[in-house]
Amino acid sequence: MELRKSYFADVRKDDLHEIGQPRPRSDSPGHVTGRTAYFADRNFPGMLHLKMVRSPHHHARIRSIDTSEAEKHPGVIKVLTAKDVPHNVYTILILIQVGPEDETVLADGKVRWKGEAVVAVLAETERAAQEAAAKVKVDYEVLPAVFDMEEALKPGAPIVNEYHGQNYYLYDSGACRKVRFGDVEAGFAQADHVLEQSYQSSPIEHAPTETTGCVVAPEGNDRFTCHTNTQAMFFTLDNTSIILQMPGSKLHFVGGTVGGGFGGKVDVIVEPIAILGAKLTGRPVCFIYSREEEMQISSPRAAEKVVIKDGVMKDGRIVARKVTGYTDAGAYSRHSPYGAQKGAGHYPGPYTVPNVWIDTYCVYTNRTPSSAMRGFGVTIGDFALEVQMDKLARLIGMDPLEFRFINAYRDGDMKAHRQPTEGAALIECMQEAARVANWPVAEKYMAMSSYKNGA
């Protein structure tokens, strides 16, 4: 409590009159009266509905696509395949130079996950689009698929994504992001106990109440207004501009109201193809995921595997920590190379460990591409780290909170990434938590401070 005052002495007053006080949200009056306009509340005369034909296979070569029956279906206006997309192979993070482009807007020659978009059907009604989509004939040659990250990394595993050439993302640092600090093997040799555990998580779907989608209206002057629930407006605008090879000035994106996102609406998936449909037909187009698509097609949080090996002394000090993290990107990169890199930046957690060794891999498998979700890259890592901390405390017979006091990073400690710790306040936070939770810890820990010479 005292610490925060010294850190922020010049910037904060303690006569807080906002925190702890209810404040009306500016958007709530619209929500409670049903007036808030979500993208799907826009309706334009003559609007077409877009439905996707999706891959029923995890991994397959496309021998041929026959859209003739679908095109004849009553109400169908246009059927789109890969050749209709000006720049069909893209990757979202190319905007910040994280390539290569590795994902198709509409599958071209191959599908790499079950549910991948292959053909887009635009029709007068949702029903006509759905019925016509069922009439598209795609001839597939099924290929062996790989679903497990460690299998995918083995030599001889089926190659998921040829744009990468191997089943991991190649960083400038090599097959993984790496952190090396001290001598981790010497640390293990010196430790009283060594504990290695692995932790795994499944993909998690955000399941927003409003499904992903957009409504596009041509403005009549070769400019297009796209009402979207994207969480990443400018990423979407710029990527759409690349995919459609259209200057950004032709694209007018309207967003800001999202019916739940949680990170699940940052990928650029629905807008480019809907705008292309509007451009090629001259009609407004709506493309809204069904609930099934939201659950099965939209990117989930990545499955992760985290292997932690720790060396610990009987007195509670962690002397070595080795972490290998695997992020399952699924078939395409989306935001996962960044997620895996965040993991490397996050381990070994908020603890001062003299010997650290970190490798994090972004792995490709034939699973649904994963992407952002609330703290992706670190949330699962924190779960693994903190469960490991509890196990270590039990191993040496120490109270789990006292064990964390001993290892907590404090101001001035050198972090594994070679940044000195500043403004940690972890000790004070744990002291407050101990008080609030009524979890007794020894007096010496309650007297500690994040300022090392203060304790």
């Binding site: 958007d27 409670v32 009266t33 049903g34 109440t209 409003e210 019916g259 996102g261």
Partner: protein, 160 residues
Amino acid sequence: MAKVPVQFTLNGSEKAEFIDSGTTLLNALRDKIGDTSPKGGCHQGTCGACSVIIDGELRLSCLMLAETCNGATITTTSGLAVGGVLHPLQRAFLDTFATQCGFCTPGMIMAAKVLLDHTPNPSREDVVEALSGNICRCTGYEPIIRAVLAAARANPQNAA
């Protein structure tokens, strides 16, 4: 597709439309009548975002055919505020921070209104039960439960 006539009372005013046979009430309200306050979160009866009140009963408009609603009296959340004055439930949702993205809110308010219409002084369990068909992914439900209880308390008839 054959067009069929539908006619009902929506929030006090009479509506008549020709719609494609088989159109859900949700789509008829949103696309034909222009009342977008009921939301489509699943179109399969699992999320409650499309909830409306038909002749005093809570209904999922995504599971009703519009043509079966001829002659009905329908209430939606957009019709609750009278003369710009919020309904006590709307007021309570605002005051207790019971909305985040707001997508579930119109459906929640419908479910809560039917509860309070039938049970003006509900227990917490009554509220939980009444909202059990409505999914909210943002708020964690507690603020919504508090809002409904606050709206019930605000009812002068409950001042004991």
